[in-house]
Assembly symmetry: C2
Homo-oligomer: 350 residues x 2
């Protein structure tokens, strides 16, 4: 952080949520040069007090701010906040890093994973989108493959923790496990000892999560034609997502060559020793920021095929840490003087 | 069962284990015409008493029998029992249905899923192998695809319950969840809130489970060249396996046509209503014998591609029920007069 010139006024919108609280932890851990800290949430959560660097901060109602004196706002407060406040904040000169899905596919909004496509931040217009958790860890693992061997097709099945549904997901799993059988009639399926799916998008049968992954992977890797087959599954896991990934590359590769290309890429930690049965499990990722890759195997069922197993902490690298990493890039490169546009109209016309 | 001519003397070898006990439940539920029932286990478990149709049966030491007066023996007692006793039993005229992996790939041993390849039972030599749990549910879902559209390649990622590791797997998960943090130093990884892998086979990095699936699917479907990419994962689930399956067929198909071919195949129950988010979860399969298929979607990332989600109870259809179904076919078709061969020598020469 020694290159940073000053302190920045930072807002966290959705500060009381699972990701919002983790954003605060990560800002503190990474010693982000926070000047004034402002915490916002919906009216319901306003008034709560949250500790940051030893000081208590009162969470305010988001409707009370115009973001005019805030340099960077990290949003993780649900769709309504992203729709109603992100463009207002950007118009008032605040750089918004939004963890929600609403702005991700907007052509004027960069969708960024710092290890993968940092240059997409150049010429941003005040809103920068943080990708979906499942997408972030996967593009980190895929980028060195794209760079070294080219990428033709991926088939991915996800093993996602219930923390992807926020604190209420975690509470639901714990309640079912520790407070007896499932009784919540508003939920279709129990999660304890079960496999469930995300909300279905449309008559194609794909879930919203699956469609997000397809679109976001293509945008981040700048491979609009990349062939992607994806199935997303939620599991009775508290934290960490696993992904079983089949890749087909354009060029030939050897397994040692593939392993080396992954190993030397920033953000990746290889855990792959078949002899010692040393592989990443989701618990390995908990409370860390790495993307773990293991079970690297040749897939002989297709030309230039390989299997990868990719794991990360979905609340940290998959959300909070990635957002803070974006904030660091914005700060280090002084990307505060941006060209303002009217997102609202552009978005509505899509 | 009205076609059956008589009662059969049945042995269950490994009667005290998770699958052995379920074999007894299924024999009773399906009213298999059991004459004399003999229960065996290792010396350690001998002496236990197990109730069957209201009567107590003492479990005997397997070393005490020559299987001479037994018509059908269901084995689920581990490799040592399969290696040491299955061929002895067959040589003495007993039809062995072995749930273990030892005999499955022997060219003289049929590997049978009754809905898929019943005719492979004809001309058996006294040992019939019950496939791996993950294999059984998958080949039931694949067979109508093979019949109607031809099958070129499958990519499968499994979501397997810890009951695949037997009662000790279930006990481990419950202990970790309900008796505090993981402490068993003989196990590499906790299973609670985690994703783990099966034992790794060799330097290729594939697990024993993955290699079993590849070999067994090809043998059962009689498609020795079928292209298969497989990753197997164990989850903190008590019962039921899920499988995320990508198929590439040889002929064109429509999703309704694919759904119809699956729906009309014996043993399959379709649960697939995207609008109502009605899909199979592993809990749906618990204590049932169906193979559930849902999330049938076109996969546009490849020619003639589709996604399937396949679920079954791994201890029932994946083990005990499939074995009893084989026993029913043997009984119904009077397949007791078989040509005896020397398995031991043949197996050792492989």
């Amino acid at each position: 952080m020694s290159k940073l010139k000053k302190e920045f006024h930072v807002a966290v919108v959705g500060a009381t949520g699972l990701v919002g609280r983790m954003m605060l932890n990560v800002l503190e851990e990474r010693n982000f040069p926070v000047g004034k800290l402002l915490l916002f949430a919906s009216e319901r959560s306003a008034g709560t007090s949250i500790r940051f660097k030893g000081e208590e901060h009162i969470v305010r109602n988001i409707a009370s701010t115009d973001f005019k004196n805030i340099d960077i706002a990290l949003f993780s407060a649900g769709k309504t906040a992203s729709v109603n406040y992100a463009d207002v904040a950007a118009k008032n000169g605040c750089v918004v890093i939004d963890n929600g899905s609403y702005w991700r596919m907007n052509e004027h909004v960069p969708l960024v994973v710092p290890e993968v496509n940092p240059d997409d931040l150049i010429n941003h217009h005040g809103i920068i989108a943080n990708p979906n958790c499942s997408t972030i860890q996967l593009v980190v693992a895929l980028k060195p493959v794209v760079n070294n061997f080219g990428l033709k097709r991926i088939v991915v099945s996800t093993y996602q923790s219930i923390s992807g549904a926020g604190q209420k997901g975690i509470d639901k799993l714990k309640r079912e496990l520790y407070e007896g059988p499932y009784t919540d009639k508003t939920e279709k399926h129990p999660i304890a000892f079960n496999t469930i799916f995300h909300e279905i998008s449309d008559e194609s049968g794909f879930s919203v999560e699956e469609i997000k992954m397809k679109n976001e992977i293509r945008k981040i890797l700048a491979l609009p034609e990349l062939k992607i087959a994806v199935t997303c599954v939620r599991l009775p896991i508290l934290g960490g997502h696993g992904e079983s990934v089949n890749i087909e590359t354009r060029k030939k590769f050897t397994v040692p060559g593939l392993r080396k290309s992954l190993k030397t890429f920033p953000g990746i930690l290889i855990m792959d020793n078949p002899e010692k049965e040393f592989f990443p499990t989701v618990l390995h990722s908990n409370n860390t920021d790495k993307v773990y890759v293991g079970r690297i195997r040749k897939d002989d069922s297709v030309d230039n095929g390989a299997h990868l197993w990719v794991v990360a902490d979905n609340v940290r690298k998959g959300a909070a840490t990635n957002a803070v990493q974006i904030a660091e890039l914005v700060a280090l490169n002084n990307l505060f003087d941006f060209n303002k546009i009217n997102f609202g109209v552009l978005e509505k016309s899509n």
